[in-house]
Subunit: 245 residues, 2 copies
């Protein structure tokens, strides 16, 4: 039997409540229970059904939580509220399918016959591009975009070869959760022949009042990060054409 | 002097009016003039200010229009309405910064001192992933996403080497405007050693009532497209883990 009540796995966007989709906002207003991640502003929760139960289930970089246990606890919550017949919103930062473990929660819902929907959200990288006027694709300059994370669960590093190919073609690489690994990433890219003048844009707290941008390049980023302290919650765009217009 | 009235370059999302952002909807309701692209449903325009002037400026595949002239005509419209002090919404399909010539319109606004804002939208690829439950990133399987277009303005083909790298790592490639070139693209990928069993998902009219999915793979796609006719307005996801959950 498929449990009748709908679980909505919702992309909350980059932070500005006005960048929620109309559908996401509707679900928040109808929700009985909201399980929400870190980095989503209070402002978004204030738009939700005032009678709803709002429960924080997020992680913060280096908070020492075991991520498998954390995901299991979230899954248990989903099952609990679905079984109780409650309208649950699982509110995620950005888009649920992009570096957000959406797939794991969907597999859990399928395995437990929980009826769900997924509502896409504005991913931080696209919001950064729009709000800071940094083009991602442009005729004759850039014809692809690579979304990448430099934050591997075991602390290691993913292969950078695809990044090298994309950057050398003139197109941008959008790095999520990469600030702590940025010096190492820049070093690897330089080692593969990426020009030291290739620009790096660091964009933090995107779409929020305290949003901020920093600009450096592959050759200078190590020194730059000794002088400047962008917030961990940043998106990084690397590419020779990744320049603010 | 910067012209005072705001031009909003707005991402209209994949088609479903509920996937507009709250901010995009607000701008549509306030607009004096709306310049809109192809593929955005009538439903979205019906939500806009009823008194607004709504002008179609889109292109359709193979419509024979000269694209430079078309862009120049749009730029002239932007300048005209900005100078007249009207609130203009330049409504684009998906996200303005992703295969949408947003950069060209921004450069034009900067060059003409036209005050503008960019409102991001849900790009069709992310919507496809959410609405068809096809994960893009997943721990241990996929740690990047490549957005690519196989539709080069001169009819040629962009380098597929980055695609090969990404697909071989287990991550997906999201192809925009690629249906007509898909057989050639699959052939090129197979020639570079991509496994013929690598799955291809074709997703058309995403988020609209007539949305539909087709599933094939690198080895079989040519025969598949002889038997099946997905609509040109499709997003294609290629990758061994690009499977509906």
């Amino acid at each position: 039997m498929v449990l009748p009540h709908l679980i909505s796995i919702v992309g909350g966007g980059p932070g500005d409540p006005e960048l929620l989709t109309v559908k996401a906002l509707k679900r928040l207003k109808e929700a009985d229970v909201i399980l929400y991640d870190a980095l989503l502003g209070e402002e978004i929760l204030e738009l939700a059904n005032p009678a709803s139960l709002k429960k924080y289930v997020g992680k913060i970089y280096n908070d020492g939580q075991n991520q498998c246990e954390r995901q299991e606890a979230i899954n248990n919550e989903i099952l609990h509220w679905a079984s109780a017949g409650k309208r649950l919103v699982r509110l995620k930062t950005g888009d649920p399918m992009v570096f957000a473990r959406g797939a794991e929660e969907i597999r859990f819902c399928r395995a437990n016959n929980i009826n769900f929907e997924i509502i896409p959200g504005i991913s931080a990288g696209f919001a950064a591009s729009a709000l800071f006027s940094i083009p991602l694709t442009e005729r004759g300059k850039s014809n692809m975009i690579l979304f990448y994370t430099a934050n591997r669960e075991n602390g290691g590093f993913y292969d950078v070869e695809p990044l090298v190919q994309v950057i050398q073609s003139g197109s941008p690489v959008m790095v999520y959760m990469g600030l702590n690994n940025l010096p190492k990433l820049a070093e690897k890219l330089a080692g593969k022949g990426i020009d030291s003048a290739t620009s790096i844009q660091i964009l933090s707290n995107i779409s929020q009042a305290r949003q901020k941008s920093w600009s450096t390049n592959i050759g200078e980023v190590v020194g730059f990060l000794k002088e400047n302290k962008p917030e961990t919650h940043s998106v990084i765009i690397i590419g020779k054409n990744a320049q603010q217009i």
